[in-house]
């Protein structure tokens, strides 16, 4: 019971699935022997501990071989480094993990939960002293999109049961699980969110545009859950492979300017900042971990990507097979693009707070380079990507928006692949949009505009002085 998860699990794994893994590893080794026989003996030991036999071979940069324990700790290490060096999770946070059922978000969930367990242990150990840090909270969100991708009722119920089981099995503290249908992005007053949502998606003719619009709505939905339940961070399981696909897809869609915003560790342009702690992990590694630790995955909702996104992911997959570090190269190249000022977790303004000081003491401080670039003028109301040169920035002087004005405020990519061309269908499309998107068009991304002019604002309490 009290035993620290990793140790005993690895033992169990060797008993159960050891044979299989060993078979595949010998196969790979045979290939190596042909290549250079002299090093045969060294090839079989784990690169990290140099003691145990390596059973796991990863691609990625250089390609490595690990024993199960080292593999696990290496992967967790990447996650932890990302979290600590970008201040993704602080002790006072309440973190919402977006769980899709797939391997990436499954591992994200696992790791966040492990981290919570560790900080709980720290808390318990130092509880007597008053300086101890609180333990951050964790919640899980699952967005139910079955009204758009119908699956059978039994499948759905089984999947939901699985998700509940996964979440309830996470130690130590109970985690709140939010299973929310995507139609909830419409305010509760409008009763028939489901119809409106279907209509909205159906007015989009481009297949890729449909997919992208849906993913924007998913983010909207996650943000809504986070806001309503008092979460302070949103954790996504986006891994290197996914991000590499996004780099190429965004390039192909003409989103070169806004691309840099989407692929950083942190993205605070949203109401609730979004963090990507698995940015440095390959999908292959995440898959290995899932099978190694028998992490349950929910397959029922696996989305098949079509259009440009599908084409790009199969292209990247092919490239990755040819050269196992290709995805890393793509993400590294795109990582050199200049990020936006919102691509870091904003400093919390709790100077007098002991907790903050304590967390500063505890956390290793990394020298994060300040991002010296101007914030963009505006954001696309549909995809929230920054827009460089806004022709229509003055369009919304009064608080009225029309379909035309709305269309003009969107980024060129959304204009092309999401907005309908004909005026009449554009009006329809506009009428089906959730209120929050219309708001965004009307007010711009208020959060950032507010932050830009913060120094000039007079706060209420300052008034009296």
């Amino acid at each position: 019971m009290a035993c620290n998860g990793t140790g005993c699990e690895s033992g169990c794994y060797k008993d159960s699935t050891g044979d299989e893994v060993e078979k595949s590893s010998t196969k790979k080794l045979n290939g190596d022997v042909n290549g250079d026989g002299n090093h045969h003996r060294h090839q079989t030991t784990c690169l990290k501990c140099k003691a145990a036999e390596a059973t796991i071979f990863t691609g990625g940069e250089g390609g490595s071989r690990f024993c199960a324990d080292c593999f696990r700790s290496n992967l967790y290490g990447k996650f932890k480094l990302a979290v600590t060096s970008h201040a993704m999770i602080s002790p006072t946070d309440k973190v919402l993990v977006a769980f899709s059922g797939g391997p990436s978000s499954r591992v994200a969930l696992q790791f966040v939960s492990e981290m919570q367990l560790k900080s709980q242990k720290n808390f318990d150990a130092t509880a007597i002293r008053d300086r101890s840090l609180p333990v951050f909270g964790v919640g899980v969100a699952f967005i139910d999109e079955t009204e758009l991708h119908p699956i059978t009722c039994t499948d759905f119920n089984k999947a939901i049961e699985d998700i509940k089981e996964i979440v309830s099995n996470l130690s130590p503290t109970k985690k709140e699980l939010h299973i929310v249908p995507i139609r909830n992005i419409y305010s509760t007053k409008t009763s028939d969110g489901s119809e409106t949502l279907k209509n909205l998606i159906n007015t989009v003719s481009d297949a890729t545009g449909k997919e992208d619009l849906l993913s924007h709505l998913r983010m909207l939905s996650l943000q809504k859950i986070a806001i309503e339940n008092g979460y302070t961070k949103l954790v996504l399981g986006s891994c290197t492979s996914r991000i590499a696909c996004h780099v190429l897809a965004a390039t192909v869609k003409g989103q070169g300017y806004s691309l840099a915003a989407d692929i950083q560790y942190a993205d605070a342009r949203w109401e609730i900042p979004v963090v990507l702690p698995l940015r440095d992990c390959l999908i292959q590694e995440l898959n290995i971990l899932c099978s190694l630790d028998s992490l349950k995955i929910v397959e029922e909702f696996k989305d098949s990507r079509g259009g440009i996104n599908g084409l790009v992911s199969s292209f990247v997959k092919l490239l990755q097979e040819e050269n196992p570090s290709r995805e890393c190269t793509i993400v590294r190249t795109a990582g050199k693009l200049t990020p936006f000022p919102f691509n870091k977790i904003p400093e919390t303004n709790t100077d007098s707070n002991d907790v903050h000081l304590a967390s500063q003491r505890r956390h290793k401080k990394f020298n994060l380079k300040p991002i010296e670039s101007l914030p963009p003028d505006s954001f696309c109301p549909i995809c929230n990507s920054p827009i460089r040169d806004l022709q229509s920035v003055t369009s919304f002087t009064n608080s009225q928006t029309t379909p035309e004005l709305f269309g003009a405020a969107c980024c060129s990519s959304c204009q092309y692949q999401i907005l309908p061309e004909e005026l009449s269908s554009m009006e329809e499309f506009y009428s089906f949009l959730p209120q929050s998107i219309i708001e965004r068009a009307r007010n711009g991304n208020q959060k950032w505009i507010r932050e830009k002019i913060q120094d000039c604002l007079i706060l209420d309490d300052e008034d009296e002085v």
Partner: protein, 322 residues
Amino acid sequence: MDGAHGGEKTKSRLCSICNQRRPALKRPKTLQQICRECFYVVFEEEIHSVIVNNKLFKPGERIAIGASGGKDSTVLAYVMSELNRRHNYGLDLFLLSVDEGITGYRDDSLETVKRNEIQYGLPLKVVSYKDLYGWTMDEIVKMIGLKNNCTFCGVFRRQALDRGAALLKVDKLVTGHNADDIAETVLLNILRGDIARLSRCTSIITGEDGPIPRCKPFKYTYEKEIFIKDLERIRPRAILDIIKSGEDFRIATSTKMPEQGTCQRCGYISSQKWCKACVLLEGLNRGLPKLGIGRTRGVNRKDDQHNDAKNIQSKPCGSLDF
């Protein structure tokens, strides 16, 4: 009315620009159905505005048109001569072709280029590998066999246009690189991780600091290639969107390019002491054709080999005043 084409569509069957003639093609760029006459007009005017907006040329300049005999460069030759006349650019135009010296390979295309010479009244200069490097590709293949000879051909061709342009004493070189080529380069640079080249590969004039700037008036014009081809099938506009992305990438202006030097031997741009062509030539001339192909060997890495270089008498590559 037009029985052969089914009644219901007759209304839309008119050129979407002039609304008079029957459309002859669907432009991949815009998906507009337009007639032959309008296509010429739009196409040529688009190229014209690219040239004007980017100030590609100044009056009185001598311009070499890289001509392979293929469709891109043939169209380029036509459009350049036509626009030069129509809009009084005041340019001295030349056709410049490279002959690799492969029996039966260039003959047809060189014929095409010669026809272009007459048709558009543009003087033609054919530079051969033999003239430039002292070796034809046939001779090179005889020397090194069928493996690796692409390395030679590729490296030599890269320089051949520049060398030919230097011989013609032109101010600029125009090539038929089109939107697909550039889109492909953008993607390749992302896949390769080359941020520096990514930052400049979409610019319409390259090599401005080098000896002879190259211009690509067809930057926004179309063509094809595998992944790109698939993309285009799903969404023709993707090609232009890739270029747009390439132009919009937020790349810090301080991004360092690999330092550009000149080859100590021939004066061509080179990041190493000797340019690749000179290294390869050195190998050929010394009877060590593998020099410069593998990873570990090479003149640039071994300074002491320098002395031997003087002994090479045969077939030197001419040094040029770039």
